[in-house]
């Protein structure tokens, strides 16, 4: 008989504590500073999918001791609320509509007057963003960081931290196997981890290499099926 787990697991929290900075220590420090009420910088971070961009934005929002308003690029319309003295976060600026681009452009122009800090993220450096030139160069004027991909050791540590946060016991050899045989971007790794957590509860089995093998095989099959 299979156990059906109750859906009462804690929602994963994105904060600085569960982000392994690796080569991103300087970026993390800047973000922590941006969260403080006296910082009025503009920061732009970019990196590949699964590099941890969104995690960092959420962590900054969570740590901010100031009003925060956070948006995904595609959601930004003509009006972008600009909380005085606050922090405006826009993720996926590469997906801003023409109206959204003007709204962000105006946010740049107003920021100095209302003491607003700006934190933006996208999938490419400002030079390669397909945005209006006046907005693109304003983003280029910000402090720019590329989110550096984590090394395998850092990914292993990140996985271990996430597992601990979920109350899972994850042996080092399981992590090693995962890193050697699965896709190694953080998004895919977390997805396997989540499935592993679920399967250990359903099947009342420990999080072993054998179970990971089954999960990976299942994912490959699903990916291969038409």
């Amino acid at each position: 008989m299979r156990q059906i787990p109750l859906d009462i697991r804690p929602a994963p929290v994105a904060d600085f504590a569960n982000f392994v900075p690796g080569a991103n220590a300087e970026l993390v420090e800047r973000l922590c500073h941006l969260a403080t009420p006296l910082a009025f910088d503009a920061l732009y971070i970019w990196g590949e999918l699964g590099s941890g961009r969104s995690h960092l934005l959420q962590a900054t929002a969570a740590a901010a001791g100031r009003p925060v308003t956070a948006w995904r690029g595609a959601e930004v319309g003509e009006d972008l609320p600009l909380p005085p003295g606050g922090l405006l976060i826009v993720d996926e600026v590469d997906r801003l509509s023409p109206e959204g681009q003007i709204a962000l452009f105006r946010a740049f122009n107003t920021a100095r007057l209302v003491g607003l800090a700006l934190l933006m993220a996208g999938d490419a450096p400002p030079l390669h963003l397909a945005l209006r030139e006046d907005l693109r160069t304003r983003i280029g004027q910000a402090l720019i960081y590329q989110v550096q991909p984590l090394s395998d050791e850092e990914k292993a540590e990140t996985l271990a931290r996430h597992a601990r946060a979920r109350g899972m016991r994850l042996e080092p050899e399981v992590i090693t196997y995962l890193l050697r045989h699965g896709r190694r971007d953080l998004g895919s790794l977390f997805a396997v981890l989540e499935e592993l957590d679920e399967q250990t509860l359903i099947r009342k089995r420990s999080a072993s290499v054998a179970l990971v093998k089954e999960i990976l095989a299942g994912r490959e099959e699903t990916a291969g099926s038409p």
């Binding site: 300087e26 100095r112 450096p125 030079l127 160069t137 304003r138 004027q141 720019i144």
Partner: protein, 466 residues
């Protein structure tokens, strides 16, 4: 002078360039509240300096006060006590500012909210201008790219309303148009603090029109904009196809110029090339003086970087400034972004700013920019523009119709890419590097005499920068 302030002044004198210290800090004084509230209050002589000091130095004062008193202290900024008309002091130290010039209120919803403890004062005449105190003629680096525009702006600032009206400044994105007109506005404010000045971005002007329309408050809107002595409107190209906004601006323009009030306009292109603007508006832009701001040449980019670093009390070596300036050519904004990156990197790693450190800090950025333009792309763009074949870029033909575009392409290659002269020569049909050098000199000389060529270069540069 109290001990805290003497200590603070001594430290700032050591840290800031002498010019900055003497201009902004030296003449400030400091006083304390009653005994039960020893918080220091730094007194500044006017609102212009108040705004400047608040944005650049207040945090530093607060840090020093914390260190000096050994605990966080509520250090505030305040204006020098006004004559009798000032209202009763609040909390022992805060004074109400003298009444400001009686102008109709600005459209309300755009009013900025002050951000620091010192800004509990109502918006001053200066704050209502929306000018940025950082942008002055002193902080504007001048070079061949902007000296005409600067001279014109300076003259208008000296005689607003009577020299060139309107002053129309155009140039590509991020070349310093906004800085120039803020500098003009700040200079006018300094010499004529009673003048009603307003900087407005064209998008905000449009928003004001929409709001007036929704709230049926066109009378207030019109009265306000016609009450100005100096209107600085940025990025007029945003009026593109906004008919009602153009209509309102047309009438405001007429009213202001008839009353000999000054109008300054910026745009990303020459007036006649702005799309979606009514002819009657475009023709009025020609009434005054039209000046162009061009992309800064290498020496000017270096000067800009050194100037910006100095504003942060940081000495930037020539080799570091050259590294950044050589690799980032497109506009001043991205130049500034790169400088910020280097300074942040040095601060974080607590290292001196050297060439190696700068290279390390800008690794990704430089890589990204160097991928920016290929010589083939430049050749194709220029060939398309002049309707010649790309093959002519490599050919030996020397007719003017082909040789001139080829020289222009070489000049653009030199201006916009980091390729060496020999590499550029190779890409243009294995020509010698002296041919490239000659082409660059020819184009540089010709553009000073030939307005059409100058315009072509402007357009091509904009196109290539994407």
């Amino acid at each position: 002078m109290n001990d805290f302030w003497s200590t603070c002044l001594a430290r700032l004198q050591g840290e800031l360039p002498a010019q900055q210290f003497n201009t902004w800090i030296k003449n400030l004084t400091c006083e304390h509240g009653p005994d039960d509230d020893p918080a220091p209050r730094v007194v500044v002589p006017n609102r212009f300096i108040l705004q400047w000091v608040r944005e650049r130095y207040l945090q530093k004062f607060q840090e020093y006060a914390k260190e000096y008193y050994g605990k966080p202290v509520n250090l505030t900024l305040g204006l020098l006590e006004a004559p009798k008309s000032a209202a009763a002091p609040a909390a022992g130290i805060q004074k109400t500012p003298p009444p400001v010039a009686a102008a109709p209120a600005a459209p309300a919803s755009n009013t900025p909210t002050p951000r620091s403890a010192a800004a509990v004062l109502p918006p001053s005449a200066y704050e209502k201008t929306r000018l940025n105190p950082d942008f002055t003629f002193d902080t504007l680096v001048t070079g061949r790219a902007n000296d005409l525009a600067r001279a014109a702006a300076f003259q208008v600032a000296t005689n607003p309303g009577t020299s060139y009206n309107p002053l129309f400044v155009y140039g590509g994105v991020g070349l310093g148009k906004t800085h120039l007109i803020h500098a003009l506005g700040n200079a006018v404010f300094r010499h004529n603090p009673d003048m009603v000045i307003r900087y407005v971005h064209a998008e905000d002007y449009y928003a004001d029109v929409v709001r007036a329309f929704q709230q049926k408050s066109f009378d207030v809107f019109k009265r306000y904009y016609r009450s100005l002595d100096l209107l600085l409107i940025d990025d007029i190209q945003f009026f593109n196809n906004k008919n009602r906004t153009q209509e309102e601006f047309f009438h405001a323009f007429n009213a202001l110029t008839e009353a000999k009030k000054q109008i300054i306009i910026t745009c990303d292109t020459y007036p006649k090339d702005v799309t979606g603007l009514e002819d009657r508006l475009i023709s009025r832009f020609d009434w005054g003086l039209t000046v162009q701001i061009e992309p800064p040449e290498l020496e000017m980019r270096v000067a800009i970087l050194k100037n910006k670093a100095e504003a942060d009390a940081i000495h930037l070596n020539d080799d570091v400034a050259f590294l950044i300036a050589k690799n980032l050519r497109s506009n001043v904004r991205e130049l500034e972004g790169a400088l910020k990156k280097v300074l942040a990197f040095a601060r974080f790693h607590n290292r001196e700013i050297t060439l190696d450190l700068a290279k390390e800090a800008l690794k990704d950025l430089l890589g990204a920019h160097n991928r920016q333009l290929t010589l083939e792309h430049i050749q194709k763009t220029v060939a398309d523009y002049y309707k010649i074949k790309v093959a002519d870029m490599h050919s030996k033909k020397r007719t003017r119709a082909i040789a001139r575009p080829r020289q222009i392409a070489m000049w653009l290659a030199k201006e916009l890419t980091p390729f060496s002269y020999p590499a550029i020569g190779d890409a243009f049909g294995n020509r010698d590097h002296t041919t490239v050098l000659h082409a660059c000199r020819t184009v540089a000389d010709l553009r000073l005499q030939d307005a059409q060529l100058n315009h072509d270069l402007h357009v091509l540069t904009q196109v290539l920068r994407g």
